[in-house]
């Protein structure tokens, strides 16, 4: 009895200790990746990298909402379990500010890695932080306008619009005009004007930022004083909330991207302000009833919200050399083109201008324009908190629990606190 107990104890201890005594083999790069098509496109190409370099790559694929919580403890530890990171632009200020990322300037200079092929707006967002290069742009999710072309061509609607507004119906070029067309479509086309995503948190903030930037507003001024409550911010928010409460589907104050997509794909809305790569989703007969009836345009007013991911190497990785080799490979012209041909959202201009890519995806022309003009949210240690605070206040205003002015003033006060806490205020 006792003897077997002892053996069980030994067996348990051995099993517990086993993973730490890694079997000596070639280098394996571990990466935490988001469960999106992009990740699976790259995963399918990995055997080529492994054959070329002898370095194995292991993807741990999780949902977005789990990523930050999984990454931070690893980055705080003495050594990280992950050797290459994909960094969302929400964290593009936090990670370098915390000193968790390896600066890449040296690697780029040594290997003459060409940064000129990248869109400047992408390098600015998920490349440099305070003048130092920490990330290589990987993926883009800038936002633009997706609208129904069939309704824009409808003679009756055109005639009615001309009669009501004394001008022809066209793709709107300002936020005011956009809200006007949304209202017109709701009243006359028997559907919602805009499939909006007004859920508290990042959905409402992402969508509202398009209105804010296109109206000439911003989160902070050059000296990091909050300015979301200035006249432009208030006007943008008034238009946003008017659209959300009047011209969006019922319940849009709780919608996220999926909910909004369902409405749009079922043909129940004239437009949506969304990621440019939602267009192929809406043209997929398996998912959508509006195939061939949708088109992409820049955000009315010109400046949409930019978003994206960058590749980075954690400072506490034990395989930095191999990690850089991986980044070089995955961002090489050939691999980027092959990723793009499978529907990846590139960050390199040569991929956007490639004849083969353009032949397959003609709308990459508009996408390039959208990305080039897009603007990202301020990047600093507390970007995520800034978005949280703004989202809470916008949601309070949309729920009519606060006036727009009061909500924006409250948000501005907290945004100023965050800038002060990050020592950015000048």
């Amino acid at each position: 009895m006792k003897r077997s107990a002892l053996w069980i104890l030994i067996a348990v201890l051995v099993l517990v200790a086993l993973p730490s005594v890694a079997f000596p083999q070639g280098v394996t790069l571990r990466m935490l990746m988001e469960d999106v098509p992009e990740t699976h496109i790259i995963k399918a190409l990995l055997p080529e990298f492994e054959r070329k370099t002898g370095v194995k790559v292991q993807f741990e694929i999780v949902q977005y909402m789990d990523m930050h919580a999984k990454l931070v403890p690893q980055l705080l530890a003495a050594t990280s379990q992950y050797d290459v990171l994909e960094v969302d632009n929400y964290w593009a200020g936090e990670f370098p500010a915390a000193g968790w990322l390896e600066p890449l300037d040296g690697y780029v200079a040594r290997d003459k890695f060409d940064l000129k092929v990248y869109l400047p707006s992408m390098l600015d967002m998920v490349g440099y932080y305070q003048g130092k290069l920490y990330m290589i742009p990987m993926y883009n999710y800038a936002m633009g306008l997706i609208y129904r072309t069939d309704l824009m061509k409808d003679p009756k609607l055109n005639e009615l619009y001309q009669k009501q507004y004394g001008k022809p119906l066209r793709v709107p070029t300002s936020v005011e005009e956009y809200v006007q067309v949304c209202e017109f479509m709701r009243k006359n086309a028997g559907l919602s004007g805009s499939a909006m995503q007004g859920a508290r948190g990042d959905p409402i903030v992402m969508e509202w930022s398009n209105y804010l930037f296109s109206m000439g507003g911003d989160y902070y001024d050059a000296k990091w004083n909050a300015r979301i409550n200035d006249a432009k911010g208030i006007r943008a928010t008034e238009l946003y909330i008017k659209n959300l409460l009047e011209n969006a589907p019922k319940g849009a104050t709780a919608f996220n991207l999926d909910d909004a997509f369902r409405v749009m794909s079922q043909g129940q809305a004239w437009s949506m302000i969304s990621y440019w790569w939602m267009l192929p989703q809406l043209n997929d007969p398996k998912k959508s009833k509006v195939v061939g009836k949708v088109a992409l345009a820049p955000m009315p007013g010109g400046i949409g919200l930019n978003g994206g991911w960058g590749w980075a190497i954690p400072k506490n990785s034990t395989h930095k050399k191999e990690a850089w080799e991986f980044i070089k490979w995955v961002e090489s012209r050939e691999i980027v083109k092959r990723r793009a041909l499978q529907g990846h959202a590139p960050t390199r201009t040569d991929a956007f201008n490639d004849p083969d890519v353009l032949k397959k995806y003609p709308y990459y022309k508009e996408a390039l324009e959208i990305i080039a003009r897009a603007k990202h949210v301020p990047e600093f240690q507390f970007s995520a908190q800034m978005i949280e605070v703004t989202g809470r206040e916008l949601s309070l205003a949309a729920a009519k629990q606060k006036t727009i002015k009061q909500a924006l003033d409250d948000a501005a006060r907290e945004l100023n606190d965050l800038a002060r806490k990050a020592n950015l205020k000048k």
Binding site: L6, A97, R262, Q381, A398, K402
Partner: protein, 307 residues
């Protein structure tokens, strides 16, 4: 190696025979568990308690700066903390109350003579074993105002469509509805188990004395079932205080702050505010409230047993 182990083992046995047990099999079996628990439960608990008195954030992960009660006072001065506290208490009382009353009713129905009992049990256990995230996603689709089944059925019945999650007044109740749907089985099954294990004699005696069904229920069933019911309420209360997944998936605390439950508040403070010290302080405030509630419930249970 083998020889050494055998020798050690024999020595242990002899020691035990002489009345000085070095390590009984019992201790040996529980030692790994105790060590593991100390590492994964006790240590983090103690560590987070220390952190709650420091300026520890993810950006400056240091505990050497003692700030006293600063984090606790900061939480108590935050109106959104009090909003979350209010929402949570309201939520816990209502969700546990509704589940208990409905659960008790269903348990009584199932306890009676009923055909296909096995089928009902099977159906009842399904929501309980589903992941709350899955439940949240499914219900979010069902409650979709324009495309969801629930509003479709209502419109067919001539009832106006309901803005389930988009209106601040309604979102709280929608969340409650989904939670009750998922967790009520727990209440039913525990209460059923309680009912089944009740002694038959008092019921027979009551019947001979001519007690009606309601009299039996009030004077026999409920008093006998009290300890089990209290345990069920206790466990569900603790679980309800920790509700997080449903809120995250369905409302993100909104619209406005109408469903901003405290565990979601703590999550945001940790992973968006990066302020682990503040989040730990709020967690300990929550723990204090839950502990007081548990203490009250336990004292009631123990009093019952003593009586």
């Amino acid at each position: 190696m083998r020889g050494a182990a055998t020798t050690g083992h024999t020595a242990g046995v002899y020691a035990a025979r002489r009345g000085k047990p070095l390590a009984t099999p019992g201790t040996m079996f529980v030692t790994p568990t105790i060590i593991t628990l100390a590492f994964v439960v006790a240590l983090p608990l103690a560590y987070s308690f220390v952190i709650s008195f420091s300026r520890f954030t993810f950006l400056t992960p240091r505990v050497d700066q003692f700030v006293g009660l600063e984090n606790y006072l900061k939480a108590l001065a935050d109106r959104y903390f009090w909003n979350s506290f209010y929402v949570t208490v309201k939520y816990v009382i209502l969700v546990v109350g509704v589940e208990f009353l409905l659960g008790f009713l269903i348990a009584l129905l199932l306890y009676g003579d009923l055909r296909f009992k096995g089928v009902y049990y099977a159906i009842l256990t399904i929501p309980m074993v589903m992941s709350p995230v899955g439940v949240g996603l499914i219900w979010k689709m069902l409650l979709h105002p324009g495309l969801g089944v629930v509003n479709y059925v209502l419109s067919r019945l001539g009832i106006q469509e309901v803005n389930w999650l988009g209106s601040p007044a309604m979102a709280f109740w929608s969340l409650l509805l989904v939670d009750v749907w998922q967790q009520i089985s727990f209440m039913i099954l525990v209460l059923m188990a309680g009912l089944v294990s009740l002694p038959k004699e008092p019921f027979e005696a009551a019947e001979i004395d001519g007690a009606s069904f309601l009299q039996q229920l009030w004077y026999v069933t409920i008093p006998l079932l009290k300890p089990v019911a209290l345990i069920a309420v206790l466990i569900r209360t603790i679980m309800a205080f920790r509700t997080y997944d449903l809120v995250y998936v369905m409302t993100r605390g909104g619209p406005g702050v109408s469903t901003d439950i405290i565990s979601y508040y703590i999550y945001r403070t940790t992973f968006m505010g990066l302020d682990l010290a503040q989040a730990s302080a709020v967690s300990y405030l929550l723990l204090a409230v839950v502990l007081v509630l548990i203490a009250i419930l336990f004292s009631v249970i123990l009093k019952q047993e003593a009586a």
